[in-house]
């Protein structure tokens, strides 16, 4: 048997395999690295508050969502997120409820027009999931908060995540309506970022 592969052919073959093989997690991260601005048209922050007796509870979303996030290509834990929500933008489909949420009993939007979340740490929990710890500030009160994130969608200039978490609103000075209305607020978000 004579020597079948020339060095050039072997190199070419190896290169072909490397390109054809699926990207590893790290390669995914590297390609997603960068700074993004949250796209308000494609993003959504939904909230849900349960009520006693099995009724629908309070369900709505914030139409004013702004922010940025950075993905660190070499070390995900150094990624950051900052989200700002206009508290006057809560919409439930019922004007009476919306007005109540904007008013002094809940968000007091006139005095506290924004609620913010600033991450302190991102911890990867899987190939496309992470836990985001940070500080949530609402109604002038800052408390630690934690959210779970899952990569939902990505393109060359956009990347989207499903983000979920919950908080207890009495800790933010809005306990009105408990126990008839739950203290626990469930947040469910689609956050889409555009590269900047």
């Amino acid at each position: 048997m004579h020597r079948a592969c020339s060095p050039t052919l072997a190199a070419a073959f190896l290169a072909l395999i490397a390109v054809a093989a699926p990207a590893t997690g790290d390669t995914l991260l590297e390609s997603a690295a960068g700074r993004y601005r949250i796209a308000p048209d494609a993003s959504r922050v939904d909230f849900h508050v349960g009520q006693l007796g099995g009724g629908p509870g309070i369900n709505g979303h914030f139409s004013d969502v702004r922010g940025t996030f950075t993905i660190d290509g070499r070390d995900l834990s150094r990624s950051t997120v900052e989200i700002v929500i206009g508290t006057g933008s809560a919409e439930t489909g019922n004007e009476r409820v919306d007005r109540f949420l904007r008013g002094g009993a809940v968000f007091h939007a006139e005095k506290f027009p924004e609620a913010t979340f600033r991450s302190t740490r991102v911890t990867r929990t899987g190939p496309d999931t992470a836990v985001i710890d940070g500080v949530l500030t609402a109604r002038g009160i800052s408390e630690r908060a934690r959210f779970g994130a899952r990569l939902a969608d990505r393109g060359p200039r956009r990347i989207g995540f499903r983000v979920a978490g919950e908080l207890f609103r009495s800790r933010f000075g809005m306990p009105v309506g408990t126990p008839a209305y739950a203290d626990r607020v469930v947040l469910d978000m689609d956050l889409v970022g555009e590269r900047i």
């Binding site: 009520q51 006693l52 007796g53 009724g55 629908p56 019922n94 009476r96 409820v97 007005r99 109540f100 008013g103 002094g104 009993a105 306990p175 009105v176 309506g177 126990p179 008839a180 209305y181």
Partner: protein
Amino acid sequence: MAILFLAQAALGTIMARLPDSAIKFDLYQWHKSNGLLILAFALVRIAWRLADPPPPLPAAMPPWERRAARANHLLLYGALLAIPVAGLALVSASPLQVPTVAFGVLYVPPLPLPRDEALEAALIALHGTLAFAALALVAVHVAAALRHRFVLRDGVLARMLRPPP
């Protein structure tokens, strides 16, 4: 019961005029809790009255006065039932579907009414009208009791306040 009723009427009038606030929400829930308490008391009182009728009216009392007294009492008992039921009905008809939790501990399910803002508004008006009509009945009731005491001096008021042995 009289104190509860008068407090309730005052609370209902004041709370509706407040701007949106946590206090306003809480006062509405107090008002609902109080209303259910009055309803419970009213049912007990009516059962008691049916089981243990009051002593006969004084022989000297003319027929028109007997009829007026009977009407006033019937209407008052009716109001003590109808007003809180109208209250529960308006809450049940409200598209807001705010749960009723009496005194923060007892969940009271809504009545099976359609969720309709117009119906809610109509029931709010009915609730208010019945309440003010009842206040008028109470005023007549109190005036009549005082008349029995100070004008007729026929012992009827004493009987109301302390039943005969």
